[in-house]
Symmetry: C2
């Protein structure tokens, strides 16, 4: 009878409407009926990505689309520049290294965003850099990079700007075409309110042109094959039918809510969380906190692992701890996907209860009240 709340920065809660859609009997994917679904999903994805170009869907988790972007948009031994400021940008670099690219890094302390001019300097110093790989929202540290400013710099060069927007897309507006980004990566278990198992890739015209010449080996994630299939409203390989059916419903819910309303809601919830955290005397880990996820420094004297565990086991509220070297040092709450003001009340009410239990001193009610002021 105890209620459960999933407030991690992905996977997120899946609306019942979507769960029930996915629970319908499976239909065959090589049918007119499923072609209509693919076509409808494509229209909606294009609204989400703010593009008239094709958005590819893979049956994989987000890492698959990261690999797709890297193996399709580069050739043997090309140089790429990775902005490395957390676990997921490290993964972008690791994929590029696995495929034998010459990977250069801009290393940023965890919790910091990159200064756009640092990218400018590196691209000017080395005109052989074929692309810049960067996280929109680095989920591991709760940090957002300023992709709008960075795109202004990169689009003036021959380098592509490849953005992992897995936790940003659908949370903030990502006008891929207007800003001049070249590749945008997405995943299903974040703002799209689905279980994990689908990933997405959008490419600019110059990225598509690059992919035609790419000589890195690839098969499952070959975007030219997927493009050919998409033109016939199908997929190159067997699609994850039930997840795509759910995607249609999730995107329709988002569209009906209104894209700008969605971005505004997420921004407000993120600001509410930030305000509540500060009111509790806690410190936000990132110097440029993400709208998708707030990473909070665990205060001295409090066991961060225990805090996360107690919230889950005793109060039914799942947030995320820190990963790797940040384990025990931060906790992270998601403000993306199927989330509402009510969830923020639940989060602060529970956090306050657990902080009290763990001996942290604060004004009871101060967190929840500060969040309320932003939201209501």
């Amino acid at each position: 009878m105890n209620k459960k709340y999933l407030l991690a920065p992905g996977p997120v809660q899946v609306p019942s409407e979507v769960l029930l859609e996915m629970a319908k009997p499976i239909i065959h994917h090589r049918t007119e009926e499923f072609e209509h679904t693919i076509a409808r999903v494509q229209e909606l994805l294009q609204e989400l990505f703010q593009t008239k170009g094709p958005v590819l869907t893979f049956a994989s988790s987000g890492t698959g689309a990261m690999e797709a972007a890297i193996v399709n948009l580069h050739s043997q031994k090309e140089s790429v520049l990775v902005v490395r400021n957390g676990k997921f940008s490290e993964r972008l670099g690791a994929i590029a290294e696995a495929y034998g690219l010459d990977v250069q890094y801009i290393d940023i302390p965890y919790g910091d965003a990159v200064e756009p001019k640092a990218i400018q300097e590196r691209l000017t110093a080395d005109v052989n850099i074929k692309s810049v790989l960067i996280e929109y929202s680095e989920t591991s540290t709760g940090t957002m990079n300023n992709i709008e400013e960075i795109s202004k710099i990169v689009k003036k060069t021959d380098a592509l700007l490849i953005v992992d927007a897995i936790t940003a897309l659908g949370v903030v507006s990502v006008p891929c075409e207007e800003w001049g980004i070249d590749a945008v990566i997405g995943g299903s278990q974040k703002s799209l309110m689905l279980p994990p198992g689908l990933s997405f890739l959008w490419c600019s015209k110059r990225a598509w042109a690059r992919s035609e010449k790419s000589n890195l080996p690839k098969f499952y994630f070959n975007i030219q094959e997927e493009l050919k299939a998409l033109k016939k409203n199908t997929t190159a390989w067997t699609p994850a039918i039930s997840l795509i059916n759910g995607l249609k419903v999730a995107l329709e819910m988002m569209q009906e809510y209104g894209w700008n309303n969605l971005y505004e809601k997420n921004r407000k919830l993120a600001l509410a969380v930030q305000a509540g955290i500060k009111a509790l005397g806690l410190e936000i880990f990132s110097r440029n906190s993400s709208i998708s996820v707030c990473a909070v420094q665990v205060p001295t004297g409090v066991d961060g692992v225990l805090l996360v565990k107690k919230m889950k086991d005793e109060y039914g509220v799942t947030i995320a701890g820190g990963q790797g070297e940040l384990k025990g040092n931060i906790f992270r709450v998601g403000t993306l996907g199927y989330i509402d003001r009510t969830d923020i009340l639940v989060f602060f009410g529970t956090l306050e209860a657990v902080l009290k239990e763990l001996g942290y001193l604060f004004q009871p009610g101060s967190g929840i009240n500060a969040a309320q002021k932003v939201m209501y």
Copy 2:
């Protein structure tokens, strides 16, 4: 109100028990609760694969696990031998070619199985062949290769035997270890009664040893990374949580039914289909018809595409047509996964109705009666 039957050789019908399990609220995958699920699924997969070794699960469709087998078990420019007798074995070859392997083929006419001694001859003639890639059940032509005999040949050599068993696993007994196979590939939307979106790979000890030395580029499908994760009851990348929850229930249903009962049921249904087809005066396309799928030659004067379309649109029964050059020439009915004697009655009753409409001459009731005799 019209009932629908999915009788294709995959995707197959998903039991309500599985659909409802997948419709439960999503839990976070980095939790003790989900670790228990992974551990339980692993036990059950080991029963299915008849092994004590690890069985890896990928968030991808079956083609992903085909790629995983190829990129992890080979190194640059190595020679492989592909037994090519249909669309899916062509895909095995295409993946190996995409990764720059030296791909040799044994070409077999569509509908024929390979003669095991042909493999023997090729392996003797060229000791540089590092592996044999073959379909257990070639779904496009409804043909089963004799993997038991082939494994006796290949295990005496240094070559690995890599078997795509996507439509065979769970349909017939595949004693990977006992027979000395080196890699077995599976997919979720066949005998496992799930939607597409999961794929599986089991490797023998000598295949695992080979993978440690493999220098082909890989990341998402890196089996060493997945093995490390599996030892901690987790996955390298975000797993397809809802599908894995469904997998647990599906495997438990299969286990409860009894593995041997399952294989016996499938064999009987396949024989019933074959008997009914012959009784209708129709010809089975394959000279070694698969237990998983029966491909039937469309009789002269009948429009094969229309036959499949009418069965679906007018009678609610989805079977598959032919792919590529076989389009219009064959139709295929699956006898795998969540299927029962009742489905075979539905298939023949409907097929007879449509054949009659299309002007094919036969003794009404002869197909369904011949199938009944095998089943009841």
